[in-house]
Each structure stands twice: as C-alpha cells, then as structure tokens.
C-alpha cells in the first residue's frame, strides 16, 4: 500500500513537472552556460544514493513534520505563480521546494536533513535567470578587463584599456559577454560547494569555502585574459582563438580549482577539524 502510494506520488509529481523537466534538460544539453547542470544532477543523484541508508534510518523516527507541509505548500504556490506568470525560474525552483517539502513531511526533519546536500546540488543545477545574468555580466566584464590590464602592465606589456576592450600592440582583445567569467564563476561555485560538503563539517567554514570561490574565479578569469594577451604578443594574434585558447581556459580553471582546494585546506587546518580522513600534510604533520 505504502509503496503503491509512493509510486503514485512520484508519478503525479512527474506529470506536474514534465514540461519543466524537459525544458531544463533541453537547456542543459544545448547551452554552454548551463551545461554544468547535467553534472550537478549526476552528483546529486550519486550523493543521494550513497546516503539512502542514513535517510531510511532517520525516517524510522517520527519527528517534526509540519514545516515540511509548509514548504510543500510554498512550493506548490511557487509552481502556480511560475506557470501562470510564465516564469520558468520560479517553476524550476518550485520543483526543488516541492521535493524537499515532500521528503520532510513524509519522512521527517531528520531524514530530510540527510538529503540537504543533494537538494542543494539540485538547486545549484538550475540556471540563474536571465535578469540576474544580465545584471552581473557587464560588471564581471569590466572587472576582468581591469585585472587583465593590471596584469599585462605588471608584466611590462604595453596595453590600453577602453572599457572592456584591451588594445595591445599586435591585436585588440575584446572581453565579450562570453568572456566575462560567469561560466567559470558558476562552475567554481559548484566545485566549491561540493568541496565544502565533502571536506568540512562546520557550516561557517563551508560558507567560507564557497564564498572564496567568487574572488578566485574572477581573478582567474582576469589572469586568463592577460595570458591570452601575452600569448598574442609573443606568438601572434592567432593564439587568441582555436585550440590554444580552449586549453588556456581549462588550465586556468584547473589552477583556480587547485587554489580553492588549498584555501579550503588552510581553513580546515586552521580550525583543526575535518570530516574526512585527511592526509598527513593536511593536518600539518
């Protein structure tokens, strides 16, 4: 009876969010700005599967559930507002709220707490709304241009910046919208979230690790643009495009991830506590 009802609830939710899910999957598959969602959903599913025993164990004890009903109703209201107002972002957010509220109401607060990390990954997998993207893209472009200008000037390369355009002796680099660093910022935020969840237990330290992803990503993007300028001046303007350029982006992001891991290690070492079994060098041995 319980299993049949659970299957019915899942089918009902799937019917309700069929269009939303298909639109989200289509955006993940087609947009380079949102394709990280596929990986985050995979990570969320993996983490949820690994924690299923904890979830079932916590679900055996009946505890506070009224908050779950409130969250469920809130999610349903968000769904209606999103559908009737044609707001895709709110509709997508409501899916996570309905899922969290249902888990909380059916299984209890303790069981829902074991699924916070997968729910957070699902929440991050939703692409930010265009309003937010448009609002932060231009400031990111200008900040990246300034960092690249300062780096090139420090490396004794003559450069003139006009807004988001960098004039070099051999070429002119434009920090376009796709170069604003938003992709690396979103990706590094996701990496930071996974890293914080996997390497620390304290909520403030986790928040600190996730917050550090923002400056690291912005500075790394500026240095990436500066490196492109240096490569153009050294080997020619063809270095600003093609395979070399893609490899530069990867290398820069790998370096940014390394820096973030080291910063997380410093934070964990300073607190003297870690959730996982740490390497000797991580605890200063």
């Amino acid at each position: 009876m319980t299993v049949a009802l659970a299957i019915g609830v899942v089918l009902l939710a799937a019917t309700l969010y069929a269009n939303t899910g298909m639109g989200l999957a289509s955006e993940w598959a087609s947009s380079p700005d949102a394709s990280y969602g596929l990986l985050l959903v995979t990570v969320a599913a993996t983490v949820a599967w690994k924690r299923r025993h904890l979830f079932l164990l916590a679900a055996r004890s009946s505890d506070r559930k009224q908050g779950g009903l409130a969250l469920l109703v809130l999610g349903v209201l968000m769904y209606l507002a999103g559908v009737l107002g044609a707001d895709v972002f709110i509709t997508r957010l409501s899916a996570v709220a309905v899922l969290a509220g249902s888990l909380w109401y059916v299984a209890g607060a303790g069981a829902a707490r074991t699924m916070i990390a997968p729910l957070a990954f699902l929440l991050m997998a939703i692409p930010p709304p265009t309003l937010v993207v448009n609002a932060i893209t231009l400031p990111l472009q200008l900040v990246a241009s300034r960092i690249a200008e300062a780096t090139l000037a420090a490396a004794a390369f003559p450069v003139f910046r006009d807004g988001n355009v960098l004039e070099l002796p051999s070429t002119t680099l434009q920090v376009a919208e796709a170069c604003s660093g938003l992709r690396s910022l979103v990706s590094l935020l996701a990496v930071g979230t996974v890293l914080a969840w996997a390497s620390d237990r304290s909520t403030p330290r986790r928040a600190a690790i996730v917050s550090l992803a923002v400056p690291v990503a912005i500075v790394a993007n500026g240095i990436r643009i500066a490196a492109t300028g240096v490569a153009c001046e050294t080997w020619g303007p063809q270095m600003a495009s093609g395979r070399w350029h893609t490899i530069t982006g990867w290398i820069t992001f790998a370096v940014a991830t390394f820096v973030l891991v080291q910063l997380a290690r410093v934070i964990t070492r300073a607190s003297g506590e870690s959730r996982t079994v740490r390497a000797p060098e991580a605890v200063g041995v």
């Binding site: 009902l12 990986l39 209606l80 059916v106 434009q174 376009a176 170069c179 790998a254 891991v261 996982t276």
Partner: protein, 264 residues
Amino acid sequence: MLHSTRLRAMLVVAATLAIAGVAAAYKLNRWTPIDACLCPTSQHADATQTATATDVPSAKPDWVRAQNDHSSSAIDGQALASVPLGRTESSAIGKTNTSGRSQFAPWGNAKGLSRMTSGSGSAPSVSMGGLWRLMALNSRRHETSATTAVVHTEKPARQPSSPRPAAPPRAPSRPGRPGAPPAPSLPPTTAATPLPTSGFNDFNLPVGVLAGAPDPTSGTLGPGGGVIPSVGGGLATTPEPGTFALLGTGLLGIAGVLRRRRRV
C-alpha cells in the same frame, strides 16, 4: 502508528500535487491575458472583442469582459487622439462613466480631476498627451491595414453552374447602402502597393539586429546562401570553455584529492 502517519502524509502530498495540477490546468485553459491593445480606435476594439468572444464564449469572467468593453468605456479614443501634444486631457478624461459599478479606465479611475496634473505615478498627466499622439498614429496604421485586408480577401468571381440571364452592367462606383455610414475616403491600395508609413514604420531595423545578432546585410554571401558576418578589424574575443568542461575538470580534481586523502 508510524505507518498510518506516513500513509496520511503521502495522501496529503498527493492531494496537494493534484490540486496544483488541476488548478494550473484549469487556469491555463480558462484564463487568457487581458487584451493589452491600447489602440483607441473603436473599430479595432470591437474587432478584438468579437474575436475574443467568438473564441472563448464563456471563458472570461465579468471583470475581464468589462476591461475589454471599450465600446462602453469611459474614454473616447477618437476624441483623445485629436488632442494636440502637451495639452491637458482633463476634458477628455472627464468623460468617466459613473453609472453603476466602476468601469475599467487605464491608469486607474480618475476620481479627482485635481490629481491629473499632480504628476503622481497613477494619474494621467500632461505628458500623457504624447502617448495619446503615438496611439493616434498607431490607429491610423490599423485603419490602413484593415483596408488592405479587405482588398486581399476579396473573393474571385464564381463560375455559374447553370446559364443565367446576363446581369445588367454594374456601375463602376457602387453607391452606398441606405443607412450605412459613408465609406471613408482612403487612398486606393493594392497588393503590390506598399502601406503608407506611419510614425512607427520609419525605422525598419530588424529585431535580430536590435537584439545583438549580426547584421545580415553586412558581410559576404556564403556557399550555402548564408551570410558570413564580416570580422571587425583585428578584434578578437576571448570566450571561456563551456561550463560542462569546466565543472568536469573541477570535479575530477576534487575526486582525486578526496581519494588521495581517504587512501592516506
């Protein structure tokens, strides 16, 4: 006890989801956005209302129908269209229908005419004259479009199935029907004749260009007939790789770090 509690919770969740689905489906099928056409031409408003009423006869609630009812609306659009720019519309707005329940009036019901020149956000003010002037231009465009549609949809002459007596030759200019209003003297339009331009037709910039797409009129013709946009002189962009590749790289790095920690 726990089992029954869980069953009850599942039923509540299912009922909530079902209510949400039914409400969304009902509203999406029954609710249509309010016709936001601000064209003050009564002819166009009637056409819109007729089409809406034909499509969904009983779909709209009373308040929506009241908003679409421009024919009995408080504002006479033609009178407002003739108001010159910069003139206060207090005389025109003053024709508020005060009988019975409150009718729809754009920018709120002007209960106190003293507010009309106060410059508050919800009350019409002197600057509305420019908006009404724009709407008058738009109405002229609607009139011209309607005339063209009549010319286009004129049916071809049917071939008679049986021989009929020859009809008397018709006069080239048909007199108007008795009781019908005289036809407006509009310039003759044909299918090949371009529409007379109003104030809105002077700018023919494609929307794609406005939205930031490359101008299709510039560049060279490609092999498939497409247009290859011309590259700006020496301007190189520096785009990032896709987020899938970036996050994949980061997750691989984190997985390596965690694995190494656990092994040690």
